[in-house]
Structure formats: structure tokens, C-alpha cells
Symmetry: C2
Subunit: 223 residues, 2 copies
């Protein structure tokens, strides 16, 4: 559907890319150097079928041997290459409230190669103070500073009403992707990629699954 060509000329869907992220979490947590991991072990940990894991990993090239499994380190490297995180990414974060601070402290970002290189906030009381080793700068300087900092990505943890203006400042600075936590639908030029994390939607989806689980439990063949 939204598949796009990989460097190998194959198509990797966004759903497949999300599964690869999950496989990487597992594999990166496990292996002693040189240890082999089986597709079944990954499937069990992530909660998808063994066949799905083997299909997804086959798309990355010749990695595993039947009955022997995958070299954990080689596999992690191949997934990182496929996802484009085999090199560091520079990002700026706009909106240093509770969520922004939580993201800054979140060790997963740095571990995956994402470096927050600049912090911005519109609150004069926050500008100039230091968080996690970075000095908060004013949003009015965002475009100019994001260019100087060579930021490729922007993380938006601002209120919905300012998200549009901030995204425009980031686009003007030439960032290539925005991770948006504001509960609004941003309009960006086609060349700028957008991932929106709407936290209320996640909770809605959980409620939906609980409700549907109830419906399943009431299914006639279960009575």
C-alpha cells in the first residue's frame, strides 16, 4: 500500500518497518557476541507468527541459515540499515514541558542514534535554563538555529494551537521529518515526512480492543 523501494529495490511497507523496529528491540537486548537467534524466538517475543518473521527478515537479504538461525549482531545491523538508523540523526525539540522533558530523559532515543541537539520554548521564563546539558533557546530563533545546528528532524511537544506555526519554522529550516505529539493534523510539504503520536488515540485503541474482546467473549460459539 504505502510500500517504498528499499536500497535492495524491494518494497518495505510501513507495517513491515514497524515490525522490524520490534525485532530490533528484542535482538538488541539478547545476544552475547556471535550467538544465533531463531525466527521462532523473535516471533514469540514480539507476538507475531514465525512465518511473518522469516518473510520480513528474508526481505533484508541472506541473513539466516535454515536450522541454524540468525547471527544476532549481523541481524541487528541489517535491520538498522533497512530502517535508516545505521547512522546518527540530529534533531531539535520544541516545547520543553513535561512531555518534552520526558523525551529528553528517555534513553531509548540516544541508544537508537537520535541526538537532540537543540531545545526551544516560547516561555521567556524557560529560555536560558539548562536541561540535560542543553540550554533552552527562544522559539523565535528556531529556523535560524535549526539550520545552524544542522537538524534533520524536529520533535514537537507544543500545545495544539502553536503546532502549525512551529512546524512551518522547522520546514523553513529544511528539516526532513517531524515527530508531532500535538493533537492536530499538520499540513507539511511532500518532501517533509510526518509521524504523529496522538496519546488519546492510543488510549482509545486500547478501549476499543477491550470492548471487542468482550464482544468476542460473548460470541455464540463460546457460550
Amino acid at each position: 500500500m504505502d510500500g517504498q523501494p528499499t536500497e535492495r529495490g524491494q518494497r518495505l511497507s510501513r507495517a513491515a518497518a514497524q515490525r522490524l523496529s520490534l525485532y530490533l528491540r528484542c535482538v538488541a537486548g539478547w545476544p552475547a557476541d556471535g550467538e544465533k537467534v531463531s525466527s521462532g524466538r523473535i516471533a514469540e517475543a514480539v507476538g507475531v507468527s514465525d512465518a511473518q518473521v522469516r518473510r520480513d527478515l528474508a526481505a533484508l537479504g541472506h541473513l539466516g541459515q535454515r536450522g541454524v538461525g540468525y547471527d544476532a549482531r549481523e541481524l541487528a545491523g541489517a535491520i538498522r540499515t533497512a530502517l535508516g538508523i545505521d547512522r546518527p540523526w540530529r534533531a531539535v525539540l520544541v516545547g520543553v514541558g513535561n512531555l518534552g522533558r520526558a523525551l529528553l530523559k528517555y534513553q531509548g532515543f540516544r541508544a537508537q542514534g537520535f541526538e537532540i541537539v537543540g531545545l526551544f520554548d516560547s516561555d521567556p521564563a524557560k529560555v536560558g535554563s539548562e536541561v540535560e546539558g542543553l540550554t533552552i533557546e527562544p522559539v523565535s530563533a528556531l529556523t535560524e538555529r535549526a539550520v545552524a545546528l544542522q537538524a534533520e528532524l524536529g520533535v514537537l511537544t507544543v500545545p495544539g494551537e502553536t503546532a502549525h506555526a512551529v512546524s512551518e519554522a522547522l520546514v523553513a529550516a529544511g528539516v526532513r521529518g517531524i515527530l508531532n505529539f500535538a493533537p492536530v493534523v499538520l499540513k507539511l510539504p511532500r518532501r517533509v515526512r510526518l509521524v504523529t503520536v496522538d496519546l488519546a488515540i492510543q488510549l482509545e485503541q486500547l478501549a476499543f480492543q477491550v470492548q471487542q474482546g468482550d464482544a468476542l467473549n460473548r460470541a455464540p460459539d463460546e457460550d
Copy 2:
């Protein structure tokens, strides 16, 4: 694939449920009472095809008239019913750090009918203090208190190393769904639903899309 029967006996996939959440965001933001909204307007705002919107909404029953559009209020109500958020949900939040506080302040939760009825933390220095009108209680009391509070959902904003133990305490309290922000894969009984939000994965997916966009831009037919 993971479709489950709706109350209408039809199957609503998780992907469809996610799209419905997005439609609801748009529709809830727009209408004056009694105003009609078109599938095209929703499609434009959410960034999916008009045909997709019409298919998704057709699955909810007879809502729109050709050429007239949907009654915005009726549509919002039908989506809420399909998602199971036409009634309030009681949730407890465990881990009152920056992310927990951000979620507590996040108005979207209450707006969608999710009420945080209890706060828990393992830090004795935090226990007893008040946040957003709730007093933080010790994690050691979680199971007992979650039962007393009639919590149906749990929100986990704890470090990865304590997530398993906390999820077990929530399961023992009979919660039916867990929204997990800890970067671990939780194992829960089948009757308890799980939605995991891994913030590093969101950033990885953004990097992936940026990289794939570059690959597209280098495609032979574009040179």
C-alpha cells in the same frame, strides 16, 4: 487479519479503528450543531482517500446520504459507539515522572472519556503529594487500591525494569487493558489487552520514512 466482530456483527480491523479515531478528531473539532460534513472533507483532513472514508463509515451503519453528507454529531456518536468510548473508562496511572505528569495534564484523555482515578509511584518522596487533584499512593498498594477504585485500564509510565511487576499487580486487580509506555514487551493473560507506545520506535519510523523518501527521490524515473 486482526478483525473482530462489532456490535453490528461486522468486522472492524485495528487499522480501521485507528482511522475512525482520526475521523473523530476532525469531526469533533468542526461542526456547528446540525452541520453536514462530507466524506471528502474528512478524507482531506486525515489524508486518506475519499473512498476509504466512505467504506469505513458505511461499516458503522446508515449515516450519510449521497450528496448531502453526514450529520456531524450523529457521526461522532456512531464512531464513539464503534470504538467503545460512548461511556467513561476509569484508569489508574503508575509512574508519576515527567511522562506521567504530561499524560495527567493532557486534556485529550478527559475529553475522550478517560478518567484517571488513581496515581501510584514507588518513590517514597512522591507518595502523599498531590498532582492534578489526586494524591500519589505507593505501588505496594496498587492491586488493592485498583480494585477499590474500580479501575478498568492501567497506564504504565514506569521504567522498563519495573514494568513487568507493575503489570502483574494490575492484572491481579482485574484491569482489562494496559497502555504501556515502558520500552519492554509485556506478557499478559489473553483476557487483558495491551497497547504499547514505544517512543523510540516512533522516531525510528520517522527516520525510515525520511530515508525512503530520499530513495524515492533518487528513483530512475525522477532523474
